[in-house]
């Protein structure tokens, strides 16, 4: 590999690592947001049992 090859490899790897980390954080955040919504709905349903009967 020549100098340009090493340069291209280094910059590609940097951008891939950063992009992968941002995507990973975004997915984790979306997953947690869903969990919070589900738990909040469960809690509110349990708070209003009278409305069922």
């Amino acid at each position: 590999m020549n100098a340009t090859g090493y340069l291209a490899a280094a910059y590609s790897i940097i951008w891939v690592i950063i992009a992968a980390y941002v995507v990973y954080l975004g997915r984790r955040q979306a997953g947690l947001r869903r969990q919070i919504e589900v738990l909040q709905i469960e809690m509110s349903e349990r708070d209003e049992p009278g409305e069922q009967g």
Binding site: N2, A3, T4, Y6, L7, A9, A10, Y11, I13, I14, I17, I18, Y21, V22, L25, G26, R28, Q29, L32, R33, Q35, I36, L39, Q40, E42, M43, R46
Partner: protein
């Protein structure tokens, strides 16, 4: 209606866009504006992202872990522990970038991908220390017990940070000394590009920290909601 979360989302998006713009400017600076180095040629351009990655890891990344670990032990506030955890993970990501880009620069410059010289060796040790920190957090349970263990580890582990920084002055090394007592030992245009790159990486650190701390806070919320749900189930029996 509470406009707080929507406003925070907008601010994070704006911060992300500004960070991305600065990163593109830094990339352009490194690949186009910076002059070609006389001895190493184009491969020296790796330096403009390699050095800022190391700066983020050693500077804000792990030093924030150290400072907030002390703050947690002094106050017992879990918010310090959450930011420390976030900063440690980001520090590991940037140390990984440093350890990957270094050998890609070393091979054409020194003829080898890796040599056990002081700066490289202490940086690899640093990476293992903070991977250990993250592993410890993943097995140490929750709450104050985990926070206390992680804080002690975060303070002791930080000892390697000044060793990495000063290793090129303390021991014989082939690693270049860019920072001297009279400033950067670089051409003025190279220094300008490096400054832009350092600013872009610092912004990137802030952006990632905001995202990562939010995850820590959301995890804490999930845990609180689960405890509450369990309590109610228990109370209802």
């Amino acid at each position: 209606m509470d406009k707080g979360p929507a406003r925070r989302d907008l601010m994070v998006t704006v911060l992300g866009a500004v960070t991305f713009f600065f990163m593109l400017v830094a990339l352009l600076g490194a690949l186009v504006w910076a002059p070609k180095e006389a001895t190493m040629g184009d491969v020296q351009r790796i330096f403009y992202f390699h050095m800022p990655s190391a700066w983020i890891a050693l500077g804000p990344g792990f030093t924030v872990v150290f400072a907030l670990s002390i703050a947690y032990l002094a106050t017992g506030r879990l918010k310090y522990d959450r930011v420390a955890a976030a900063s440690a993970e980001i520090g590991v990501v940037f140390t990984t970038i440093t350890l990957v880009t270094g050998p890609l620069w070393a091979k054409p410059a020194w003829g080898v991908y890796w040599t056990w010289e002081p700066r490289l060796t202490t940086t690899l040790v640093l990476w293992f220390i903070y991977v250990g920190y993250l592993l410890l957090r993943s097995v140490a349970g929750d709450g104050h017990r985990r926070a206390r263990l992680a804080a002690v580890y975060g303070i002791v582990g930080w000892v390697d940070v000044p060793i990495v920084f000063f290793s090129i002055w303390w021991w014989r090394t082939i690693h270049p000394r860019v920072l001297t007592s009279s400033g950067f030992a670089l051409d003025s245009r190279m220094t300008a590009v490096l400054m832009v790159s350092l600013a872009a990486f610092t912004l990137l650190y802030v952006f990632l920290l905001v995202l990562r701390v939010r995850i820590e806070s959301m995890s804490a919320t999930v845990q609180t909601l689960r405890f509450r749900a369990r309590d109610r189930r228990g109370g209802g029996v």
